[in-house]
């Protein structure tokens, strides 16, 4: 058993301030590099792919919030303000790495190639939804894109991500190849209060699982500010306790996020160990369309953060690099807007998944009792054909 080495003879208590954790910043708010800062190894193509995913997501979010207000969706939840934290991390990973998210990371799914149409199918629970219309809007998932289906119970994905990564490690060993993929796991600073957070972080560390944890510290868990969520120095300060290499970044600074994430992935694969990134940012919008933040925070606070918009900052840097122009910006915005609206309209016309999907996937095959329940249901629906919608109304 490990025993600590140094000793003292006067009682001294350590406290949070004994471990000040700095924030990695590369781009200043004007989109210029800080003195002494170095831009990560990002070529134009990748930089633009990242930027476009951020921009698309912002536009998707805006449109969908409106669509929800119009009653075309039951629910929505935006990534607004955190696009750099999300795409900047995801972009440092390979498509073969598994992403296990919380729910506010649609920008990473877009980065991997999820189409506007696919977003719409899920949001509208129509027959094309990969999730077969079973979960509320924004609970995306795609096996093809290695994006684990989102689950509402918070923090449950954290120990799962540790286990997933352990499985990746063993599979590589079994196949006699070097470890070449890992897991990227997102969660909010609120979810980090759950017991599953502790279990997952500790297990990842002690069982040496190649997983990069990204904590999006956006200041709030619904209405609860961080001051009522924890008393320590953010989430990064917990990394030390787990023996996990940890870094804090300005989550609104795309280059800082990407730099940290690229480095983190390298460590995860080389050391076969977890890494923790805490991305400091802000949830610019409401928690979801069911929420009204005016009840718990000030307009001024929101405005202050709006000035630090990560997309704006990334754009300034891209313009500076000569990789992007206002004209391209405008064209991209228009393209995304019309794409989103076009797909929304098209997907609204599709029916919901088949009624049979009520009982599939509970098990690999419906067991007898469930088949019987279903047959009885069908007989009942046939008795009252006009009472049950066989096609999706506007109301899902």
């Amino acid at each position: 058993m490990k025993q600590p080495t140094t000793s003292v003879h006067q009682p001294t208590f350590i406290a949070g301030s004994d471990l000040p954790i700095p924030t990695l910043k590369i781009l200043d708010s004007e989109g210029k590099l800080y003195p002494g800062a170095k831009a990560p190894d990002l070529d134009q193509a990748l930089a633009l792919k990242i930027y476009r995913a951020m921009l698309f997501t912002r536009i998707l979010d805006e449109r969908m919030v409106s669509a929800q207000r119009q009653g075309r969706l039951s629910f929505y939840l935006t990534c607004a303000g955190e696009e750099a934290a999300v795409v900047g991390t995801a972009a440092a990973f390979n498509n073969s790495d598994m992403i296990m998210g919380q729910y506010r990371e649609q920008a990473s799914l877009r980065f991997r190639g999820f189409t506007a149409r696919q977003f719409m199918s899920q949001l509208l629970s129509n027959e094309k939804d990969l999730g077969k219309g079973r979960q509320m809007p924004v609970h995306y998932g795609s096996n093809e894109l290695n994006f684990m289906t989102i689950s509402s119970p918070l923090a449950t994905q954290i120990p799962q991500a540790a286990g997933y990564a352990y499985g990746q490690k063993l599979e590589a060993q079994r196949q006699g190849r070097d470890l070449d993929c890992c897991t990227l796991c997102y969660y909010g600073e609120g979810a980090a209060s759950e017991g599953d957070f502790h279990a997952g972080m500790n297990m990842a560390a002690v069982l040496k699982c190649p997983v990069v944890f990204v904590c999006r510290n956006n200041g709030y868990a619904i209405s609860t500010p961080t001051a009522e969520q924890f008393a320590g120095d953010g989430i990064a300060s917990r990394g030390v306790g787990y023996g996990i290499k940890t870094i804090r970044v300005d989550g609104n600074d795309l280059l800082a996020v990407y730099t940290a994430a690229a480095e983190a992935r390298k460590i995860a694969l080389q050391d076969c160990a977890p890494v923790l990134i805490e991305a400091m940012s802000y949830r610019l919008g409401a928690h979801s369309t069911s929420d009204d933040p005016s009840g718990y925070r000030s307009r001024e606070e929101e405005d202050k953060w709006r000035e630090l918009d990560p997309i704006e900052r990334a754009k300034r840097w891209l313009l500076d690099q000569g990789w992007w122009s206002e004209k391209e910006e405008k064209a991209a915005q228009e393209e995304y807007r019309s794409e989103v609206l076009r797909e929304l309209k098209a997907e609204e016309k599709l029916p919901p998944p088949a009624l049979e999907e009520l009982i599939t996937d509970v098990y690999d095959k419906p067991p007898t009792h469930l088949q019987t329940q279903f047959d009885e249901l069908v007989a009942h629906l046939n008795r009252y054909p006009e009472q049950y919608p066989t096609h999706r109304g506007g109301q899902h």
Partner: protein
């Protein structure tokens, strides 16, 4: 008397309880400044201070454990679990700790003052994780009381009783009715007895039994049945644990038939317990099998929620089948 919806009735119960006894506290995720995501704790922090109505960090097992400690100390905590779907991380603290606290200590300690409140149930397009009805999981746990109101008047009276009861109580609130159910409710404090079922209306052909949001469904089905000259006796169970066997058994002895309905999946749902008990008590009176109209044995769906729900038409059909057995 004032007109209140179910949410206001809950809020009023909390308000009265906090005013009457300064050991009463409200805690949970977002219950502070914001007043809870459904606003059940609105204005309580303003009125009673941050120490007595406070946000907790986001951890249901923590909320439950913390509330148990408070209760053991002599406080009277009312802990909110934001959605019943999220009560499972607190399962160990509720089922292994709160329920067994008095027993295991030989009554050296207890958690008399403890109440958990949580919105449950479907019908709000909430999918898997904003729709569950987990009452049966708790009803298999001696030491707990489980209470579910079906209207604003009950919500307030039963919640005040739950808070006053010297045992840990799990109180599930039918969230579909939070704003939909409106009724006359006294502004002052009052209690309604726990473990007493309420006979909502008398009938002679069949007993219909449910709790919470499902009572409204039974009522609509009973109306349809009446049009076909079937006389239904409606019973609202109100408290599921310990439940009022006598009232239900007496009714079934009279009507000879029983139908039980809940939203939760059939297998292992609380209707099974009731059916098993009643077939024992009323074996010689039963004229047809006890019927269960419930959710399917699947997770809670979204797109086909309407088809999934044990609605008035399904209950009505089951009534007819039972009658014509």
């Amino acid at each position: 008397m004032t007109t209140m919806n179910l949410l206001q009735a809950v809020n009023s119960a909390l308000d009265n309880a906090m005013a009457a006894d300064d050991r009463v506290l409200c805690l949970g995720e977002d219950v502070g400044t914001f007043g809870g995501v459904f606003r059940a704790t609105s204005h309580l922090q303003e009125k009673y201070g941050r120490a007595r109505c406070f946000n907790t960090p986001l951890t249901e097992q923590g909320v439950a454990g913390f509330a148990i400690g408070l209760a053991a100390q002599g406080s009277v905590p009312v802990a909110e679990i934001q959605f019943a779907d999220y009560i499972f991380p607190a399962f160990d603290q509720i089922v292994n700790e709160a329920a067994k606290f008095r027993y295991r200590s030989g009554n050296e300690f207890n958690v008399a003052g403890l109440t958990f409140r949580s919105p449950y149930g479907g019908g709000i397009a909430g999918g898997l994780y904003h729709s569950q009805s987990p009452e049966a999981y708790f009803c298999h746990t001696p030491g707990l009381k489980v209470v579910i109101p079906s209207n604003p008047y009950q919500a307030k009276g039963l919640l005040m009783s739950a808070i006053a009861d010297p045992n840990p109580v799990v109180f599930f609130e039918p969230k579909r009715l939070y704003r939909a159910a409106v009724g006359e409710v006294p502004e002052e404090a009052y209690t309604l007895p726990l473990s007493e079922a309420q006979i909502v209306s008398q009938g002679s052909d069949i007993t219909l039994l449910a709790w919470g949001a499902q009572m409204e469904i039974l009522q609509r089905a009973a109306d349809l049945a009446e049009a076909e000259d079937i006389s239904c006796e409606l019973i609202d169970l109100c408290t599921l644990l310990p439940w009022d066997v006598d009232t239900v058994a007496a009714s079934v002895t009279k009507t000879g038939r029983l139908l039980i309905s809940h939203e939760a999946p059939r297998t292992g749902g609380f209707a099974g317990e009731i059916a098993a008990t009643i077939q024992e008590h009323c074996f010689l009176s039963l004229e047809s099998p006890i019927a269960r109209v419930t959710g399917l044995d699947t997770p809670f769906p979204l797109a086909h929620e309407k088809e999934y729900m044990p609605d008035h038409l399904k209950v009505f059909e089951a009534i007819k089948q039972t009658i014509h057995y």
